[in-house]
């Protein structure tokens, strides 16, 4: 690929999101301070500097990227490796103190919040790439390694790590494992679970187990498979082994401009229906385009456009031009006003810019933003989008849509002002209605951001009582005392017990 790395440029989104502080939920009570004896015991294990209990220093950790919720932790402990993490969890467990694993804090569902005075277990010091085997195309990393740093380390060997969440310049592999993170290029390459081959897991009682290995068909249950996506509820993952992929030899990027979102979606359906498998298919709507163009991130998209579709193909050079041509034909047949094609890395970066800076640009339009993450079967996209736009109108709310169209993963962004309680109530209502519409269309409430604290009450939309009870019982196998990331994923009405 050479030159500008398309994925690295996605990175500032997390920071952008952090900047858009919004909060309509009352701040949780400040927890009781950590008992002195426990703080001393932990300091003994990881060093005095790595146990933070000073309330003013803990303020940074009271939210994740979903800043609606604020829960100051009782303390944050920063182990440097598996051994320290095991000793810390063993100590917390013997005191019956709950803990929450935390990577870079870019979670969009409140998954890394220390509810009820839990202690945060930060992975920031576990930032070493332990092994990079270019021949075996494998890497073993500590959980705190930043996603983009792994790809940067692999690039000189002609390799990369496939999942590329928008926050990849900030988010950690440990967080990616917890959330089973996706990203624009997951359309072709699949999400995190596809690429993780092994994990070191510290159980909530401090015992350490090595899960997985290369052979995913090995006897016994797929414990790696069930830990990936468990949102940090089964223990603390300290090391991760992943497969790396060859960097595609060539890339073609197109930007198609449409009068409205419906036509852009029709083009996506035609592209997939014609048997093409692009690496990415991303749509941003007119509202988003105008926000981007009015911001410092202006990417040169037409201000009057109704939607833009970014299409990318990668792989062996031969044949990519004809694939791009076929996709272009699909766009024109669906009514595209124009289709631009990047001729070099700089042009390619420009085409991506509007998509990548979409979240950041929203900050200009409204003080607050709620990002939804529902996923629907691709064939239902047009109808569901239509309903989502209607829901926005019915509630008098401004909606901006950016989404992974190829995967059917929608990100309707609801723009509002938290200082207006009436607006806040309408946002919550619209948000629930959007999830209901997506579930009714055969979809689900979250495609890649996780349930966390934010969507746990909506789990009953997609899961029966039996299913929720099974999930609770599975958690209890890993965490019988309920000390690990309490209050997340499952609705409070489901009792977690063994």
């Amino acid at each position: 690929m050479g030159g500008v790395d398309p994925k690295a440029a996605l990175g500032t989104v997390a920071a952008d999101l952090q900047a858009m502080v919004w909060s309509f939920v009352p701040k949780a009570a400040v927890p009781d301070p950590m008992p002195r004896a426990l703080a001393d015991e932990l300091a003994e294990l990881v060093g005095q500097d790595c146990v933070i209990t000073d309330p003013s220093r803990l303020l940074v950790y009271e939210s994740d990227a979903l800043t609606a919720y604020r829960y100051p932790p009782r303390a944050i402990v920063l182990p440097a490796n598996t051994e320290q993490a095991a000793a810390v969890l063993s100590a917390l467990s013997s005191h019956g103190v709950a803990f929450v694993p935390r990577g870079a804090g870019t979670c969009l569902s409140g998954g890394a919040l220390a509810v009820d005075g839990s202690v945060l277990l930060g992975t920031a010091r576990m930032d070493r790439i332990l092994k990079l085997d270019p021949v075996g195309r494998l890497a073993r990393v500590q959980a705190g390694v930043v996603n983009a740093d792994l790809t940067a380390a692999a690039r000189p060997h002609g390799l990369h790590y496939a999942p590329d969440p928008s926050s990849q310049s900030a988010c950690t592999l440990g967080g990616n494992v917890a959330e089973n993170a996706g990203g624009p290029h997951c359309l072709k390459y699949g999400v995190t679970s596809r690429w993780v081959t092994g994990l070191t897991l510290v159980l909530p009682d401090g015992r350490v187990t090595e899960l997985g290995g290369w052979d995913k068909e090995s006897p016994g249950f797929d414990l790696v498979g069930v830990v990936v996506g468990s949102e940090g509820c089964f223990g603390l993952v300290t090391e991760i082994e992943v497969r790396l992929l060859p960097t595609p030899a060539a890339v073609r990027t197109l930007l198609a401009i449409f009068e409205d979102v419906e036509r852009a979606v029709a083009a996506v359906t035609d592209i997939i229906g014609s048997g093409l498998l692009p690496a990415a298919l991303e749509i941003i709507d007119g509202e988003t385009i105008r926000a981007v163009e009015a911001s410092v991130f202006a990417a040169g998209y037409p201000m009057d456009a109704g939607a833009a579709l970014v299409i990318e193909f990668d792989g062996t050079d031969a044949g990519l031009d004809s694939e791009a041509k076929r996709a272009e034909d699909c766009c024109l047949a669906a009514g595209a006003r124009e289709v631009r094609r990047a001729c070099d890395d700089a042009e390619r970066e420009a085409l991506w810019k509007g998509r990548k800076k979409a979240f950041g640009a929203m900050g200009r339009v409204a003080p607050d933003l709620l990002v939804q993450d529902a996923t629907v079967p691709r064939s239902k996209l047009p109808a569901v989008l239509h309903r989502i736009i209607e829901i926005g109108h019915q509630h008098g709310l401004r909606l901006a849509n950016t989404f992974h169209a190829g995967d059917g993963n929608l990100h309707p962004n609801i723009l509002f002002d938290r200082r207006d309680p009436d607006q806040v109530a309408r946002v919550e209502q619209a948000s629930e209605e959007i999830m209901r519409v997506c579930v009714a269309a055969g979809g689900t409430i979250t495609g890649e951001h996780g349930v966390g604290l934010d969507k746990r009450d909506y789990m009953t939309l997609v899961c029966s009582r039996v299913e929720l009870d099974l999930m609770a019982a599975v958690k209890a196998v890993f965490d019988p005392r309920g000390l690990c990331n309490p209050g997340k994923v499952l609705p409070p009405t489901v009792e977690v017990r063994r």
Binding site: D133, G136, L138, E179, N180, V191, S193, R207, V208, T209, E210, L211, W214, D215, K216, E217, S218, P219, G220, F221, D222, G225, V226, G229, C233, L245, P246, A249, G273, L276, L277, D317, A318, G319, T375, P377, R378, H404, D407, G408, N409, G442, G443, T444, V451, K455, M459, V462, C463, S464, V466, E467, L468, L470, M471, V474, K475, V477, F478, V489
Partner: protein
Amino acid sequence: MSVATAVGLASALRGILPRERVVDGEAARRWSGWEGPPGAVVFPASTDEAASVLALASEEGWTVEPAGSGTWLWHGSAATPPDLVLSASGMVSVIEYDPADLTVTAEAGMTMPALASLITPQYQWLPLDPPGRSHSLGAVAATGVWGPLGAAWGGPRDLVLGLRAVTGDGRTFRAGGRVVKNVAGFDLVRLLIGSRGALAFITEVTMRLSPLPEVDNTLVIRGGSLEELADAAVRACALPFTPAAVELLERQVSLGGRREVVLAVRVLGGREQLEEEEAVLRAALAGSGEVTRLAPAEADALWGEVSHLEEGAELVLRLSIAPARIHELIGPVQVLCSEGGGQDESARMAVHSGTGVLRLAVLKLHVDSGWEERWANRLKDLMSSLSRRDGMLTVTRGPAPLLARLKGRDISSVDGELMSGLKAVFDPAGILSGSHR
């Protein structure tokens, strides 16, 4: 089980299901990978029927072996038959197929060929080629087994999006969904994939499909030694693109005798792309033997041969290692095959270089006095040689007296505790798959 109990079991089942869905006696014998027939074979027509059977079995403490078409019942065969085999082969309907979604949901008893005939006319396919014929979708999910295409497409754990299933005690549940990205709740789909029926009876499966590739070419390299071709296979897996399959195939040979080896590389995609990829492959493989492209019928025959490798074999071994080290499996297997053995012992071998898996099918074992001891010792030596290389050996099929002499995989105490905890969650009475052993 005594005859009286078996009769009671079948009649109790006929009390809750239509008579024709319960088979016992001689008619049940075909459904046996064991030394005797199961007490009964039950064919539920719906998830609800399966749930009522499991609720009753759980209450009565009857052991149950979940099955699809029955082709995988020999997996880890044991001397004692279960009380009943619960087969999904009566559940074969398509539940939802909208080609535009590139997903399909079907009942678990639908076979792979039946699925292919549904989706091929829409120019779609399921890129999964597990060993064997006519497997049901439920069995593919339950075993989690993959074949050569796993190199590029992953296995069932990457292609199954959702499941409907019944727990050991008859609770019906869904896991995952119909969408390609879904993180709502803990991943019960992956927990069930590869659990070999020990957690639940799968009744519906949603799979992710792919567009049929424009061109499907297979290059073969012949003439080199096994070692040369194994090196060539490693080179084929180190290119800037991932071939759909890289397979080293050793046709049927007498153990210790002459070997005929072929390396097959399958590439899928658009015409122009494949022209370039073939040129790169030919350059990378030059010097390892004569490279030819197979005609479509020949390619089908070759991949069919790989799929059917285990057919009729008395002993099947599955060895695995990190793919880049696949050649390290070859030596120990050659030692195993060349070490004595009777003149009538013969084997076939397939090496999925892209996934690091080697399958050895010993067609006929020479049974004389002490044969179990001889093979058990050979296999134990192979296991320890592999574990020194971070590899693994699984005996996927073998005669019960031999299996009895081999210890199971060493599962660490923590993993073992987690797994038995999970088993208790889904199958509290402990009646499902393997519980009769």
